[in-house]
C-alpha cells in the first residue's frame, strides 16, 4: 500500500506520468460507470437523425442507424478497456511464469522452451490471434484469450531475461547457498524483483492490447454487433465512411486516446520504477 502511494506520488511528478495516470484513472471510471453516464440507449435507433453531425443532442453525432455515438463510446469503453486489461493480465501472468520457470531451471528445458517461444514469436501475433479466434469462434472473450496467448511469448522472453539477470544477483545465490526450496526462490526471491519491468511492459502492452482487440473486432473476429466495441464500430462504419466521418472519428480517436493514456502511464512508470531514478 505504502509502495503504491509512493509510486503514485512519484508518478505525478513527471508530466507523462501525471497525464497518463489521470487519463487512465478517468478511463477506468468511464469503463465502470460509462453505462450510467450515457445520455441515451447506445443501441436504440433514431430513425430521423441518421448521420447527424455532433450537436448538443448528440455530442459526437450519430451513426447510420441514428444511434448516439457519444453513448456508444461511453458504454463501449468497458468492453474495450477492461477486456484489454484482462487480456494483458492473462498474457503477462502466463508469460511471466513461463519466463521465470524457463530462466530459473535453465539447461535444455530452458532451451526447448525458448526455441518454442522463438517459433511462436516468428508467427505474427495478429495471425496467431486470428487463427485462435477462428478456432474458438468470434467473441470478445475469445479475443481476450487469443490476445493473451499471443502476448505470452513476448512476456516470457522479457521475464526470462530479467530472471537471468536477477538469478545472478547475490541474494539469489545466498538463498541457493542457504538451501531454500525452488518455489521459495522463484516466488519470494526472484518474482518480486522482476515485477517492476514486467509491470512497465504490461502497462504499455495494455495500449497494444486495446489496439489488437479493436483490430480483431475490425476484422470481424472480436466483439459481436451491435455491441459498441470501438473496433467493431469502425469496421461497421467503413461502409459509410464517405457519407459521414463521425462514426469513424469518434471511436478512432477514442482508441488512440486510450492507447496514449496507457503508453504515457507506462513510460511514467518506467521512469519511476527504474532503480536509477530513485533517490
Amino acid at each position: 500500500m505504502l509502495f503504491l502511494i509512493k509510486t503514485l506520488r512519484a508518478l505525478m511528478r513527471s508530466p507523462q506520468g501525471a497525464v497518463g495516470t489521470v487519463l487512465v484513472f478517468l478511463l477506468l471510471l468511464i469503463s465502470v460507470f460509462g453505462p450510467l453516464l450515457a445520455p441515451q440507449d447506445p443501441e436504440s435507433f433514431n430513425f430521423g437523425s441518421r448521420f447527424a453531425p455532433p450537436s448538443a443532442e448528440f455530442l459526437f453525432g450519430t451513426d447510420w442507424f441514428g444511434r448516439d455515438l457519444f453513448s456508444r463510446i461511453l458504454v463501449g469503453a468497458r468492453s474495450t478497456v477492461l477486456l484489454a486489461i484482462l487480456a494483458t493480465f492473462i498474457g503477462t501472468a502466463s508469460g511471466a511464469l513461463i519466463g521465470i520457470f524457463s530462466g530459473f531451471v535453465g539447461g535444455w528445458v530452458d532451451e526447448l522452451i525458448m526455441r518454442t517461444i522463438d517459433a511462436i514469436m516468428a508467427i505474427p501475433g495478429l495471425l496467431l490471434a486470428l487463427m485462435i479466434l477462428t478456432v474458438l469462434g468470434s467473441s470478445s472473450l475469445n479475443a481476450v484469450i487469443a490476445i493473451g496467448v499471443a502476448f505470452a511469448p513476448g512476456m516470457a522472453r522479457i521475464s526470462r531475461s530479467t530472471t537471468l539477470a536477477v538469478r545472478e544477483l547475490d541474494y539469489v545465490s545466498a538463498a541457493r547457498a542457504r538451501g531454500e526450496s525452488k518455489l521459495w526462490i522463484i516466488f519470494a526471491e526472484i518474482l518480486p524483483n522482476m515485477v517492476a519491468p514486467v509491470i512497465v511492459e504490461a502497462t504499455i502492452r495494455v495500449a497494444f492490447a486495446i489496439m489488437t482487440l479493436a483490430t480483431l473486432s475490425f476484422l470481424g473476429l472480436g466483439a459481436q454487433p451491435p455491441s459498441p466495441e470501438w473496433g467493431l464500430m469502425i469496421a461497421d462504419a467503413r461502409e459509410h465512411m464517405f457519407r459521414s466521418p463521425w462514426p469513424i472519428l469518434a471511436p478512432g480517436i477514442s482508441i488512440a486516446l486510450v492507447a496514449i493514456a496507457f503508453n504515457l502511464l507506462g513510460d511514467g512508470l518506467r521512469d519511476v520504477l527504474n532503480p536509477h531514478s530513485q533517490e
Binding site: 435507433f45 430513425f47 468470434s138 470481424g220 459481436q224 454487433p225 461502409e239 459509410h240 464517405f242
Partner: protein
C-alpha cells in the same frame, strides 16, 4: 461507334476461383463460365428461357419429355464441333452425384438424357416438369466436350474448353482475368467487345473509386451504401433492377420455441419492413412478405404487407407461453455484410415485441459447417431463382434440398407439385398464390425485404441490360462507346 480498343474493364468483388463451369458457385464464376461456355438455354431478363445452343424445344403433353434441337456448326475453342453427344455427356456429368456439382438438384427431376441424332437431345423427367427449359438455364449447366469429360475432366480447372462468346487469354487469381472475343462465336456479329478484363476489387470502396477515376468501366455488384454516390457522379450511372434476392431469418420449425406457430407469427409482426429496406438496403429494395416471391416473379400474389405491430407480437408471444418475453440467439455469417446488419436491425425492432435477441456473427466457413441447415435461428441469403417453383422446391417443400426450416407442410407441397406439373398459366397463378398465402400465415422463415440488383457503369458502356436474377449477364451484347474515359 465503338472505342478503338473496344475493351471492357469490369470489377468484381470476389475473385473467380473455380474455372470448371460445372463446379462454379459464385457470381463472378458464373460470369466467366457464361463468357466461355454455352448452355442449352439461357435466361432472359423476363425470366423466360431463350435459345442458346438449343434453337427450339418442345415437350409432350404431360410435360415429362422434352426435345431440344441444337444449332449446327458450333465449335468448341479446341476446334471440335459441338454435337448432342457433348450435351448428353455434360448433363449426365452434372447429374452424377460423384461430380459434386453445386447445381445438380436445381435442374428438375431429370430421369434420363439421350441424344437423338447429332443435333437433337431428349430429356425425360420423373414427374411432369413444365419449367425444364428454364431450369436448364442454371449457370452450371454448361456444355463441355464429351471426351474431356471422359478423360480429363479436372483439366477444366486450368484450361477452359467451351463455345461461349469469349475465350480466356490470361488468368491470375485474385487479380485479373482477361478474355478475348471468340471470332467463331455462333451468333454472327457477336460479341461486340474485343476484350474483357475482369479485375478483382475485394473492397467496395476501391472499385467505386476506380470507376470514378476511370480505371474501370463497370462494376458488377455495387454496395447499397455506395450507390447514391456513384449515381450522382457525372460520367457514370448506377444500374438498379428490382430482384428476388433476399435475406431470410430461418427458424427451425421442429424445435422450441419455433415449433410454436405463434412465436413465428409474433416475430413477423416485429418487422417494420419499410424501415428494414431503408436500414439494411439503404432503400434499394422492396418489402417482403415472408415468402420468397416478390414482384420480380411472374406469379407474385400481391397481398397486403404485414404491419409493424409489436403490441400484437407481445400478445401472441404471451399466448405462446412467453409472457415475459423470449431470449434468442440469432446467428449471422459475416458474408455478405448485410446479414449482420439485418440481424442487428431485427434485434432492435423485436425488442418492443418482447424478443431479446443477441446477435452472433461467424466466419463464413464456420457458418457453413455448423449453422447452415443445422442452426435453429439464423440469417440466410438467397439469390433470385428463375422460377417460383424452383425457389419453393429448393427451400420450403418437404423434400427441398435446402430445407432449412423443416416446415414440411403437405398442403404447401401439393400446391407446388401441382404447379410444377401444369402448363396452364391461370392454374399456376392460383396455386402459387395459395402457396404464398400459406407461407405468410405460417411464417416458416422471416423474409422482410428483397434487395435490388445494383451495378454501375460508365456512360459510354452500351448494350448492358441488368438481369434481375443476378446470375446472367449477356456480356456479348455490350460495346464500349466512342467517348472513352479520360484517364490520367
Amino acid at each position: 461507334a465503338t472505342r478503338a480498343d473496344n475493351t471492357l474493364r469490369l470489377s468484381v468483388n470476389i475473385t473467380p476461383g473455380v474455372l470448371n463451369p460445372m463446379l462454379s458457385r459464385a457470381a463472378a464464376e458464373y460470369m466467366m463460365s457464361e463468357m466461355l461456355y454455352s448452355g442449352l438455354t439461357s435466361l432472359g431478363t423476363d425470366m423466360t428461357a431463350q435459345p442458346d445452343l438449343a434453337t427450339e424445344w418442345s415437350s409432350n403433353d404431360d410435360v415429362t419429355q422434352w426435345r431440344f434441337t441444337l444449332r449446327q456448326g458450333v465449335k468448341f475453342s479446341n476446334g471440335q464441333e459441338l454435337t448432342s453427344k457433348d450435351v448428353v455427356a455434360s448433363l449426365r456429368k452434372l447429374l452424377d452425384p460423384e461430380t459434386g456439382a453445386p447445381g445438380r438438384r436445381n435442374l428438375g427431376p431429370i430421369k434420363m438424357v439421350e441424344a437423338d441424332g447429332d443435333y437433337t437431345v431428349v430429356v425425360t423427367t420423373e414427374t411432369p416438369f413444365a419449367d425444364l427449359p428454364v431450369a436448364l438455364t442454371y449457370p452450371t449447366a454448361k456444355v463441355v466436350p464429351a471426351d474431356i469429360i471422359a478423360t480429363n475432366f479436372d483439366s477444366l480447372a486450368q484450361v477452359p474448353v467451351g463455345s461461349g462468346p469469349f475465350r480466356l487469354q490470361e488468368f491470375r487469381v485474385d487479380e485479373v482475368a482477361v478474355l478475348v472475343k471468340n471470332p467463331e462465336y455462333f451468333v454472327a456479329g457477336l460479341p461486340y467487345l474485343n476484350q474483357i478484363e475482369i479485375k478483382t476489387f475485394p473492397d467496395a470502396a476501391g472499385s467505386t473509386a476506380a470507376l470514378l477515376a476511370g480505371e474501370i468501366d463497370m462494376i458488377h455488384d455495387v454496395q447499397p451504401t455506395d450507390f447514391a454516390r456513384i449515381d450522382q457522379a457525372s460520367g457514370v450511372s448506377g444500374l438498379r433492377t428490382p430482384s428476388g434476392r433476399f435475406l431470410d431469418v430461418v427458424m427451425d420449425t421442429t424445435v422450441a420455441p419455433f415449433d410454436n406457430i405463434l412465436v413465428r407469427q409474433a416475430l413477423s409482426y416485429c418487422v417494420d419492413r419499410e424501415a428494414m429496406i431503408e436500414l439494411v438496403a439503404d432503400g434499394y429494395g422492396t418489402p417482403g412478405n415472408d415468402t420468397p416471391i416478390n414482384a420480380a416473379y411472374h406469379y407474385y400474389a400481391d397481398a397486403p404487407h404485414k404491419s409493424y405491430d409489436p403490441k400484437k407480437a407481445k400478445t401472441l408471444l404471451a399466448e405462446a407461453g412467453y409472457p415475459n418475453g423470449l431470449d434468442l440467439e440469432l446467428i449471422a455469417s459475416v458474408k455478405p455484410g448485410y446479414r449482420s446488419t439485418m440481424a442487428v436491425v431485427l434485434r432492435e425492432m423485436a425488442k418492443a415485441g418482447g424478443f431479446n435477441i443477441s446477435v452472433k456473427t461467424m466466419d463464413h466457413s464456420s457458418y457453413l459447417d455448423q449453422v447452415w441447415k443445422k442452426g435453429k435461428f439464423y440469417v440466410g441469403f438467397y439469390n433470385m431463382m428463375p422460377t417460383e417453383g424452383m425457389s419453393f422446391n429448393l427451400l420450403f417443400t418437404s423434400g427441398a434440398s435446402w430445407n432449412e426450416t423443416k416446415w414440411n407442410n403437405t398442403t404447401f407441397d401439393e400446391y407446388v407439385r401441382l404447379a410444377d406439373e401444369t402448363t396452364d398459366s391461370e392454374k399456376r397463378k392460383e396455386l402459387y398464390a395459395n402457396a404464398q398465402s400459406l407461407m405468410q400465415k405460417e411464417v416458416p422463415a422471416l423474409i422482410p425485404c428483397f434487395f435490388d440488383i445494383l451495378g454501375a457503369k460508365a456512360d459510354y458502356v452500351n448494350g448492358y441490360e441488368q438481369h434481375p436474377r443476378g446470375a446472367s449477364f449477356a456480356f456479348h451484347k455490350i460495346w464500349v462507346g466512342s467517348n472513352p474515359p479520360t484517364k490520367s
